[in-house]
Amino acid sequence: MRYVDEFRAVDSVQRLAEEIRKTTIQHWSVMEVCGGQTHAIMRYGLQELLPEEITLLHGPGCPVCVTPQSYIDKAIEIALLPDVVFCTFGDMLRVPSGDSDLAQAKARGGDVRVVYSPVDAVEVARVNPDKDVVFFAVGFETTAPANALAVRRAKDEGLTNFSLLVSQVLVPPALLALLSQPDCRIDAFLAAGHVCAVAGLDAYHAIAEKHHTPIVATGFEPADILRGVLHAVRQLEAGEAFVENSYERAVAQQGNKTAQALMMEIFEIAPKEWRGMGVIPASGLALNAAHADFDAERRFGAIGAAPRRDCGCISGAILQGVKRPPDCPRFATSCTPDNPIGVTMASMEGACSAYYQYREGGSGHER
């Protein structure tokens, strides 16, 4: 498989690991931002290949995980309405809210459908003119252009029975919020390569400079991730802090201008609540005034505050890299992917789920 096999090749992975060992002198904590990177790190056991001076912290880049509980409650409420078809990516089905989730709403008779693309949900709306079709638009800069495209299509076709329940978030403001925490122990970021491919690198320069923190755009294969770590460690050991592109085959400095234009044609920047991190200014997207008719909140009522449910889950701290899954007494005991208490276990790309799936023994013992 071109563009994959060469980035998993044993010799290049081992060469990079050796290079990192030679470069590392001091202790460093490097946060990989994206859940896909966390998944790959656990899947391939990359932490085991790094010197013990380097700690990988797992960041907030799992779109399922950072979607607040109030949105899940609203999604379940809408999905259970008669004459509604609720379309979603599969990952959202099992995200728990209280004692329910979308999979249970489906079992209770809600018409919940898993789609592979938001454009498929537009097709559902087209063939079901008597139903209200709602798509759960979650994700980062990576999903926003496709969600925008779905709205543009629905508008062009004059479909009035299609809407989005929007929980779109933006990465740079979240990184800034993490660095501004008093107990922050992040020395460098591996920025999410696919987000950078869409949004470009411009937004990161001010962050790297203000907090003197290297930010390295990094891919998702084992060699990509090690290369990102190597570049971050080189900067750290040299006392430097700048934005570096380690994922040149996908990321251009300016990003994808077409996708950015499409996003801003449909959405506008808005304050946004992140699960575990609270409301972060200018960290989300909302449908703009010209497309407000496609807003599911306008049709089905605004999202309220979720009731506080203290289940003892520490996913908020995990999403900020303050704690790791094995720090939680419930990890792999009362909280498992079969019975997730929190979202970081429920989502396939959540850090808890990645630890549970891939760590030897799964008992949570750190090396």
């Binding site: 990952d91 099992r94 760590r359």
Partner: protein
């Protein structure tokens, strides 16, 4: 199949566009015609006695008995259909008991409105698959449920067969140091069905590996390979099979990821769908746990029994409380294999 009093009845309308009606399951002449004129001829089974309530069969010696229900959607997919799946699935369950498939029952639960032509195609596929597997369809049943109460067609098959190995294989026979042999490349069936369900067009189309396994198992027995445990890699794939065996046996199993054959096309498709091939269903692959000294013979035998790509992928290690399966990556890092909760779902990004 219930005998009906003789009498005049309408010839069944099986022309283009003819549909199953509730009456086809009512026990009357419509049902009798459906079975006698459509299903039985399509299956072309000399042993099928549609005039009796059951079939009398004889098996010498120890026998294995199994049943399974098939609800696959869509009914037809590249490389197979619900009919061939219903035969091979049950035949393979017998084969995993080291039993030669002898007799099958086939029960149809049909949704009102299914086209009779579709049913006929499925019945033909059942007949052909049974012949290939060397099994005879001895009895069956037909029911019709109202429109909206079924997904076109469900099939249950049961099978009996004679056990041909000196002892029935099972996890309790595992010994430390046994070799794990994988019969071929993995992931084809699950990806083929998922691709047709999602209307993802791969070029060339990804075909299911749906096939009977008895010939391969018999070849192992004939070659003198001692079979400690056999498991076909259906739902949950290789991962579920390894974890189940390890847990039942209370031992540890370790396999080498680079030894697990996955075709270029399947690994690309899995990459696209966000799946790990070890979790994807197969319908024509199995693992055999054999004494280490029989491993080379088992691989050579499976190679010549046309499975292709049979490999030794790992071994059992001394007891581990509760049992677990580990996988070693190409980088030499070990991780535990977990089984997914339920249905496989595509990743979000």
């Amino acid at each position: 199949m219930k005998d009906e009093p003789a009498g005049p009845h309408c010839a069944i309308n099986a022309g283009d566009g003819a549909l199953i009606q509730l009456g086809h399951g009512g026990g009357g002449s419509l049902m009798r015609d459906l079975i006698g004129k459509i299903i039985a001829p399509a299956m072309d089974q000399a042993s099928l006695d549609i005039e009796s309530d059951g079939a009398a069969v004889s098996l010498g010696g120890p026998a294995a008995f199994t049943t399974d229900s098939y609800v696959v959607s869509p009914l037809f997919f590249p490389g197979g259909d619900i009919g061939s799946l219903a035969v091979n699935g049950t035949v393979n369950d017998l084969a995993m008991c080291a039993a030669e498939p002898s007799y099958l029952s086939v029960s149809f639960i049909i949704e009102e409105g299914l086209s009779i032509e579709t049913l006929k195609r499925v019945a033909q596929s059942i007949g052909a698959a049974a012949k290939t597997a060397g099994a005879r369809i001895a009895t069956g049943d037909t029911k019709v449920v109202e429109r909206g109460k079924g997904d076109g067609l469900y099939i249950n098959t049961a099978g009996v067969g004679s056990v041909k190995a000196p002892f029935a294989p099972g996890p309790s026979r595992l010994r430390p140091g046994d070799a794990i042999i994988l019969s071929g490349d993995i992931g084809r069936h699950g990806v083929a069905v998922m691709a047709s369900r999602a209307e993802l067009d791969f070029t060339p189309p990804i075909r299911s590996d749906c096939a009977p396994l008895w010939d391969q198992v018999r070849a192992l027995i004939d070659a003198g390979v001692e079979l400690h445990c056999l498991r076909d890699l259906t739902r949950g794939g290789l991962a579920a099979a390894l974890v189940e065996i390890a847990q039942s046996a209370g031992c540890e199993i370790a396999v080498d990821e680079p030894e697990i054959a996955v075709s270029e096309q399947i690994s690309s498709a899995c990459e696209l769908l966000g799946l790990d091939p070890i979790h994807v269903a197969n319908e024509g692959r199995f693992i055999a746990v054999v004494p280490a000294e029989h491993a080379d013979l088992a691989v050579a035998t499976l190679g010549s029994a046309s499975a292709g790509q049979a490999r030794r992928i790992g071994e059992t290690t001394p007891a581990h409380q509760g049992g677990r399966a580990l996988i070693r990556s190409a980088y030499g890092v070990k991780r535990q294999i977990r089984t997914p909760k339920g249905e496989q779902l595509p990743r979000i990004c």
